[in-house]
Point group: C2
DNA sequence: CTGTTAGCGCTTTCAT
DNA sequence: ATGAAAGCGCTAACAG
């Protein structure tokens, strides 16, 4: 591997001159700059990032923290779409991304701790929001720059980007109400994440505003329990529509409905949040709220890199809009 | 941020002694080692990875190369399960992973090029296998250590780990034949990846061995085309079972069947490859071949790190077994 | 068992 | 416009 010295020697200049050429310093004559660049090509030289980082203290690397859990949680297409947005936008700004995950919260914390200590991650993006989160506290304690994708909770003025989940839930509920549904139930998974709380809130608001009786049910992400729960819910009342708090839960619900031979949309309508291919290719395709995960990721990177680089730009919008994608499940 | 010198000063030893304590060198008296460790704690000291890498030339970082494509390709749970396996096992061996992806092949190549040039990735894992792949050629040209998850093609004696896809396809086909199916069709997506070729081969072998007429159809991953294709295939013949080459295609197929009001498993059985939650929570749950993606990832890391660290251990098994997970779609 | 010394490859004053 | 020199934080001979 050729070093900056090799290039310097070949070009008959000092290493500092080569260094200046690399970062496009203007005070270098065109002729030498040209010559140096030729030599770099000739030797197939590329600057060693480690060495550069060591002196500049700029690794151009951001850490992404997923919530812990098993595969089916982390493989939520919603999260993956955010990841894609982050990745794409980071690349454009020549930032590298490394993601941290774990099965348990404790392990996740340890992992994040490790990557803080290695001191080459310049900032973090937190892919979830939850009150009293140990990982966020870690970030605060270590004064790491970070941005949350989700609702900002701590009073540390943290950077964040989010959807208006209450509004989105109101919209989706109203959409069904406008189709003359009256008995609409809301299914949500057990969890203390903020998103779900907001969606419940929005549903409640919309139902109450139309003087309809809301019914909310928390269920674990588990085939059997979901099935039993549905049997219970559907036998007593004349439920005509189900809203689920997230696509993964919705997927399980429609799988259970299929088993129960309750056909969608004939007997019951279903709709959910976080659109993705999972909804487009479900049986039948599902109506869902698109939360523009790509944009969430993009904006998160934007905020974080701006903050890291000191050029704080607070003019940008932190709330990403949403829209309902209508599909067969509610038609 | 405290450095090794600060620790050394506080402990009244030289930096080299601290360095030795860090890497657990045995030739350090217990008393000083203890004292040094105390000082590290006291100062909240953690070694700077960059500096360490610069001198040792060991970054303990491996690069993962996904195939290019849009989200629905990269979010294939099969790939993500491999990723999880890689990640988990890397962590255990305190390796870091960074993944490279892109929408197009050209961009992917450029990205990989960049990460080779940055010279801090010690080896790569290629998540696909394809003949005449430009990215693999790049790895070869730059003499990067790498392992392929999939069929080894180049004659460079590359490390690899794979399933016996032909065998798996034979098994799955036989499973259906044993259930007295005779008209079984095989649907595969357009693509030049090796996995699919092998699965087709296995299907063919099994059908021919039982003197049944095979029927293979390539289709693009596209809702409309799949639907039309199914209409065509199902009207002419008395097809009783469909095998798809991958879960994503299968998902689209069952969505189309739902639309066509052809119920599974009553009118037709379906089965596919690469098991995941997508099959477990499909409508109805799908029979699928589990290829143990976690183990594929795990073994890939094992081979790669062994190779990087010079302790070549060729005794380990490179072919990961498979098994059929039976679910409602074929019952 | 421990200290001294010389770098790893790069950037960055400070000169000129 | 360019070079010399110092040093980022760490490790690795070589001494002793």
């Amino acid at each position: 591997m050729p070093t900056i010295k090799d290039v310097a020697a070949l070009a008959n200049v000092s290493p500092s001159t080569v260094s200046r050429v690399i970062k496009g310093n203007s005070r270098i004559s065109n002729s030498t700059a040209e010559r140096v660049r030729d030599c770099m090509k000739q030797l197939n030289y590329y600057p060693n990032q480690m060495a550069r980082t060591l002196v500049t203290k700029r690794s151009k690397t951001i850490g992404i923290i997923q919530k812990s859990g098993d595969n089916s949680i982390k493989q939520n297409p919603f999260l993956l779409d955010i990841l894609t947005g982050i990745h794409r936008y980071s690349e454009k700004h020549s930032y590298l991304t490394v993601v941290t995950t774990s099965t348990t919260d404790e392990e996740l914390k340890r992992e994040v701790e490790r990557s803080i200590q290695s001191q080459y991650i310049e900032g973090f993006i937190l892919l979830y929001s939850r009150a009293h989160d140990a990982v966020e506290q870690l970030l605060i304690d270590n004064q790491c720059p970070y941005v949350i994708i989700g609702k900002p909770l701590s009073n540390h003025g943290s950077l964040f980007v989010d959807n208006d989940n209450i509004g989105a839930a109101i919209d989706l509920t109203n959409y069904l109400i406008n189709k003359n549904h009256e008995k609409i139930i809301f299914l949500t998974e057990y969890s203390d994440y903020e998103v779900f709380k907001d969606r419940v809130k929005g549903y409640l608001q919309a139902m109450q505003q139309h003087h309809l009786v809301p019914q909310i049910q928390s269920i674990p992400l588990n085939r059997k329990e979901i099935k039993n729960c549905l049997i219970e819910l559907l036998k007593s009342d004349n439920v005509t529509a189900i809203i689920t708090s997230d696509t993964m839960l919705n997927m399980m619900v429609i799988s259970a409905l299929y088993e129960l031979k309750i056909s969608i949309p004939e007997k019951i309508k279903t709709a959910t949040f976080n659109d993705s291919f999972l909804n487009a290719y479900a049986s039948p395709p599902q109506t869902a709220v698109d939360v523009y995960p790509d944009q969430l990721g993009r904006m998160a990177v934007h905020l974080l890199t701006n903050h890291i680089e000191g050029n704080n730009d607070y003019s940008c919008e932190h709330i990403i809009p949403t829209r309902i994608i209508e599909r067969s499940s509610t038609i």
